[in-house]
């Protein structure tokens, strides 16, 4: 995991306790369980003999909520290292990677495999610390050739290669 950096973290702010990994993880599980319970509010529960659609999901959600609470308590009681600062540098890859995948998904059936790969590689390359344009272009060409060889030539998939007009 990423290294903790205790030096630049300001000392005990009451809200900081919430930023501990275990506390956050517990809250995440509680939130997911709450969402699950809300979504399944109208599912028939049935009886143990004839379990309805909602029986198992709601059971699991309550269980998950209990576990989440226990994890929060554990997190509050432990002597944890101060939480890490999250910088823009760290968040950028999340945005970039997601964007590149979404762009690929939206593009593939419209403009075909070749241009979609260019799009994905082009956007994805931003996530690297030092982008070199020529290098990225070469990488894109190699990846296009490779994907074409594996998926179109090798497996004979029916993916549009070029834009359909």
């Amino acid at each position: 995991m990423t290294a903790d950096s205790p030096s630049n973290a300001p000392p005990h702010h009451p809200l900081h306790i919430l930023a501990r990994k275990n506390v956050l993880a517990g809250l995440m599980f509680i939130a997911i369980a709450a969402l699950g319970l809300w979504l399944s509010r109208d599912y028939p529960i049935g009886t143990a003999l004839r379990m309805g659609t909602g029986y198992v999901p709601r059971l699991l959600c309550w269980f998950l909520m209990g576990l989440g609470a226990a994890i929060v308590v554990q997190g509050l009681r432990e002597k944890a290292a101060p939480p890490e600062r999250i910088s823009w540098q760290q968040l950028m890859p999340i945005v970039v990677v997601t964007t590149s995948l979404v762009a690929f998904a939206l593009a593939i059936e419209q403009i075909g495999l070749v241009l979609s790969i260019l799009l994905l590689v082009g956007i994805g390359a931003i996530a690297a610390r030092d982008i070199k344009i020529w290098e990225t272009l070469v990488a894109a060409v190699v990846l296009i050739a490779l994907s074409w060889a594996i998926f179109i030539l090798g497996l004979g998939l029916t993916i549009p290669v070029w834009p359909v007009w």
Binding site: T2, N22, Q89, A125
Partner: protein, 501 residues
């Protein structure tokens, strides 16, 4: 002689040119990703799942299995030469293996690792062949309550034996079980958790979830971490053959490692990583002079390296015979089987002997291939370490995207994979291991099915799980495991075992 007959069937399947080719491809890809840090066997197998849809089931599984045990070989190569474990299962190999390399005994360390792994692989193959049929027969006598309890035990054991927080791991399993429920309820045909999205009515595709969490999630995690500097040791490997003295020290350790790994691999949650850690601790404990460890002790390489390969292979036993995955890789293999319409469980062996024995035989062939290919190719693998991550991640990302799209020619799947990529990254940041979630996801629908069936047998009385002796025994075992892990002394020991490095 049933054993030899079965193996003959297996070798008949595994020796066809096509299947030999797939074993070779799998072993090579496995070694490659084993060498490269930043991509592991789970992510790779997930990424290649869509490819196997277009292959024969046997060929697909042979290739995926090759990736898994190939990665153990590759991971140790970099551990010894560069002091970088390519895989978690070779973390302990770094300790003494790299020291040996610094003392000019790199060739010896590599050869002992490779020969020990091959020996362990051979033994493990025979263990699978010998123990799988009786276990499958036991499995066939199981009813719904026994199956449900067995899955509970499997999930609990997978949590307890894995590292990290037990509470979080159980929560991740529950999350996986919940994700497995998304889609149309098989019994009542009503929709669950689908947000009224048509594409979700068939549930979340297993491969999409795995590629998202492990493939995309790992890419994001690695990118946020920034590139680490790798200094590749350029020292030439003088001699590849170990000295007689090294041999004498190594072979008892190989035997011990093989034995330990074979046992730990069968346990749910076991497999390669746990085996190698345990073997290192064992070697250090029984050594006459423990102070040699950390300074290039041959046993410190031979034991764990044999153990991780033995464990990697025997972890196939519960998956193949009972349909219960012990670790995330096995969950992926089960996913690969279901995709081909094969219901994993004890009936696989009797209904599809070609598939079962073909896979077992191919593991031995694959191990032989690794031995023959890898030692001469070590120079090339080390060169590959110099490939910067900025090329690697673009390729991984692209293969994830195309792979997911080709599963059902569905752009929606790519969006789902992107979503789970971010989720996977958040899990990793919060130190919630995603592997138990995958186990839960695979077992979720099966568990609900067996729970409902058991309840119908007992007319709604939950005591059925305690009244049936086998079911009761399995649940008691699960409870004991949970209790053990709750004891402070053991909890501390468990943490130490995983922090040995």
């Amino acid at each position: 002689m049933e054993l030899l007959n079965n193996l003959a069937i297996g070798f008949g399947v595994a020796m066809t040119p096509a299947n030999l080719g797939f074993a070779l491809i799998g072993a090579l890809i496995g070694t490659l990703i084993g060498v490269l840090p930043g991509i592991g066997p789970i992510a790779t197998i997930a990424m290649l799942l869509p490819l196997t849809f277009h292959l024969e089931p046997v060929s697909g599984l042979i290739m995926l299995a090759g990736i898994f045990y190939g990665a153990q070989y590759g991971g140790s190569t970099t551990a010894i030469l560069v002091n970088l474990p390519g895989e978690t299962s070779s973390v302990v190999t770094c300790i003494d293996g790299h020291q040996m390399a610094r003392q000019g005994k790199a060739g010896s360390a590599l050869a002992i690792a490779a020969l020990g792994s091959f020996f362990a692989g051979t033994v493990a193959t025979f263990i699978i062949a010998a123990f799988a049929p009786p276990l499958a027969r036991v499995g066939q006598s199981f009813g719904a309550p026994e199956y449900f309890s067995l899955m509970v035990l499997g999930l609990i054991a997978a949590v307890v034996l894995a590292h990290g927080s037990v509470l979080k791991a159980i929560a991740m399993i529950i999350l996986g079980l919940l994700l497995g429920l998304v889609g149309t309820d098989g019994q009542t045909a009503s929709q669950r958790f689908t947000f009224d999205i048509t594409q979700l009515s068939d549930g979340i595709d297993f491969a999409v979830l795995a590629i998202g969490v492990f493939g995309v999630g790992e890419v994001i995690a690695n990118l946020t971490r920034g590139e680490e500097s790798r200094s590749v040791m350029s020292a030439r490997i003088a001699r590849l053959w170990p000295t007689r003295e090294d041999f004498k020290l190594a072979w008892p350790a190989v035997l011990r490692g093989t034995g330990l790994g074979s046992i730990l691999g069968v346990l749910p949650g076991g497999g390669a990583t746990l085996s190698s850690f345990a073997a290192y601790v064992l070697e250090k404990k029984i050594a006459r002079d423990p102070s040699r460890f950390g300074r290039g002790a041959v046993e410190g390489v031979a034991g764990p390296e044999s153990a991780n390969n033995a464990g990697a292979q025997t972890s196939f036993i519960p998956m193949l015979t009972l349909g219960i995955p012990g670790n995330a890789v096995m969950a992926l293999m089960i996913g690969a089987m279901t995709i081909h319409g094969i219901q994993p469980g004890p009936q696989v062996m009797s209904e599809r002997p070609q598939l079962f024995w073909g896979m077992v035989a191919s593991m031995w062939i694959g191990n032989l291939m690794l031995l023959v290919i890898n030692l001469p190719l070590i120079g090339i693998w080390v060169q590959l370490l110099k490939v910067p991550y900025r090329f690697l991640y673009l390729s991984i990302l692209l293969f994830c995207a195309i792979g997911v799209y080709t599963i059902g020619n569905s752009t929606f799947s790519v969006l789902i994979a992107a979503f789970f990529g971010v989720a996977g990254y958040i899990f990793m940041r919060l130190e919630c291991e995603p592997a138990p979630m995958i186990l839960g996801f695979v077992l979720g629908p099966l568990m609900e099915d067996n729970l409902r069936r058991a309840m119908r047998i007992s007319s709604g009385d939950p005591m059925i799980f305690l009244n049936r002796p086998i079911s009761l025994g399995l649940l008691i075992a699960a409870a004991i495991l949970l209790l053990i892990v709750a004891l402070p002394a053991i909890r501390r020991g468990r943490q130490e075992a995983f922090q040995e490095s």
